[in-house]
Subunit: 335 residues, 2 copies
């Protein structure tokens, strides 16, 4: 039996605001499998019918279970005497009513479709996420992730708003993460201060602070970019992912260690410093990937969106960790 519009409307409100069920179109054409094409076409052209979209006609059984779909293009060009079931496309990409619209948009892209039927656990068609919704979700998600990855506290703004923002608003969006970073940087200052004695005895150790910190950040940024986007995909094997990341980091760390070691020896003439810099570089780069993965994971655990603030926050933690590794190795290897 079909549920009427009011019932469906009421059912919608039980879902969270970003659920597919809250953003779906309800007035979409359906047809029983035995209906002829010309009859379906006639219903579409009924001036009394109001449709949210006519891009697809969904073929459903008596209980509104989704059986297939016919695009408007096929419907118009097909022989009017044929039954809808004859050329309905099966094996559809669908989305569940409780799924996030962002999952729906990603799936639509992956499957190359322009609309995504919303189907509940027993296969009943509830509505469809329309093209407008898919387009605007993709765009909003893009803007949000790019802005927040670079430390702008404007996660709800459209990009055009950021461009057109007045100076005080722009400063209000840009300053918070910078101030957090500044306090993180003060912690880094204290860390280096704690290492004052070793620095005084071997000043050359100070030369390598920027490159050690830079390389940790660079690896971490790469890792986090890939990881946060991977999280949006379904069925990510985290254990495998983690192992792979460590293997990649270790390889790149080894290459970097082998390049920076001779350079340090040449510059300072001190094998000890070369060993410290080289070993630290390797350890910093091996640690960077796991840290860049762990931080969005922790944010998720605490119910925060890993895409927001993950970037700048990770950089701060990474800097502190890199300096700690460097100074620990130095203390250990300095005679």
């Amino acid at each position: 039996m079909r549920r009427n519009g009011l019932e469906r409307q009421r059912a919608k409100s039980h879902f969270p605001p970003d659920a597919a069920a809250r953003r779906m179109l309800l007035r979409i054409p359906t047809a029983p499998p035995e209906e002829t094409v010309s009859s379906a076409r006639r219903r579409l052209t009924d001036p009394k019918a109001v449709w949210d979209s006519v891009s697809y006609v969904y073929v459903v059984d008596d209980e509104r279970h989704l059986l297939g779909v016919v695009s408007i293009k096929e419907l118009l060009r097909s022989d009017g005497m044929q039954a809808m079931r004859a050329f309905a496309k099966r094996n559809l990409a669908v989305v569940h009513p409780h799924s996030d619209v962002r999952v729906a948009a990603a799936r639509a892209i992956a499957r190359g479709v322009k609309m995504l039927p919303v189907v509940d656990h027993d296969g009943t068609l509830m509505g469809a996420v329309g093209t407008d919704e898919i387009l605007s979700t993709l765009e909003a998600e893009h803007v949000r992730s790019v802005l927040s990855a670079s430390g702008l506290a404007a996660t709800r703004a459209r990009f055009s708003e950021v461009i057109a923002a007045r100076l005080p608003q722009l400063i209000a969006w840009r300053t918070p993460w910078l101030v957090v970073g500044l306090f993180g940087g003060m912690l880094a200052t204290l860390l280096v201060d704690g290492f004052r004695q070793d620095l005084e005895s071997v000043i050359a150790l100070a030369f390598f602070i920027p490159v050690i910190v830079y390389m940790g950040d660079a690896v971490g940024t790469q890792t986090q970019t890939i990881y946060v986007r991977s999280l949006a995909l379904e069925a990510l094997d985290k254990r495998h992912y983690f192992a792979r990341e460590v293997a990649v980091d270790a390889t790149m760390g080894l290459v970097s260690a082998l390049l920076i070691g001779p350079f340090a020896l040449l510059l300072t003439g001190m094998p000890q410093v070369a060993a410290i810099v080289s070993l630290s570089m390797f350890l910093v780069m091996v640690a960077a990937g796991p840290v860049a993965i762990a931080i969005p994971e922790l944010l998720r655990k605490f119910g925060r969106d890993p895409a927001v603030g993950g970037g700048p926050f990770t950089t701060i933690v990474q800097d502190l960790l890199s300096l700690s590794i460097y100074f620990a190795v130095a203390s250990w290897l300095l005679i």
Copy 2:
């Protein structure tokens, strides 16, 4: 006069590969303004007609000048006796044949439409950029900008390919920018080395290297993220943009300078060091924005895509500049 398919096909090949004209659908339904709705509908259901898309019927005059558009939804529900001109939507968002598909996709998003007619300089309809193209362009552009901003040399890869890549491929994508960064870091090492004497006399100056470098990068990343995306929009007033950026950077630089100064004084007890750190912080942050804008501009001048490599390259330049400013200020203020 209508150009035939072959002629249009030939015309397409004169455009660069990412031009709207190369990616547009050619077989789209058109109708003269005086045609009735039922006649237009009949043509759409002609089984011999082959359409790339039936989402919109474009209303054109005898010389194929675009006059308006009727969506399939309107066409189906409207009174069959009406003339197409009666309810064709005017003031359409259009795109020129030589425009990049990315411009077309951005415009479709901005105007909330699912297809964009391609119209040449005299208003002649050439085709339309379809929904599939808009969706895949948006997604590809997103992936490309995110991956390259974080220093992955995988600008042509789909994101699913990055996730599924074998280790050697992943390392090949991730290593190039890291090695460039490593050489940049070696230059930074030489810079600090050149400052050895001052560091030896005032070791406290070494404590602030990480925070100075970090803040320059943080401001630069924010600026570049906003700027590179702004470039994709049309009619950006660069002079105004630049002035605005400097004003924002100066404000945030002032706040940071006022916070780090007292901290430096407290930590070191040396007013001289506090003054050096505070002034350097201000100058580094004021310089960071313009540098982050100048680098993508230079890349564009040399015909390179500002979204590729802009991120890691800017960070390296920024680090070197920040260190130079810091040491120059220190040399100047140290007695």
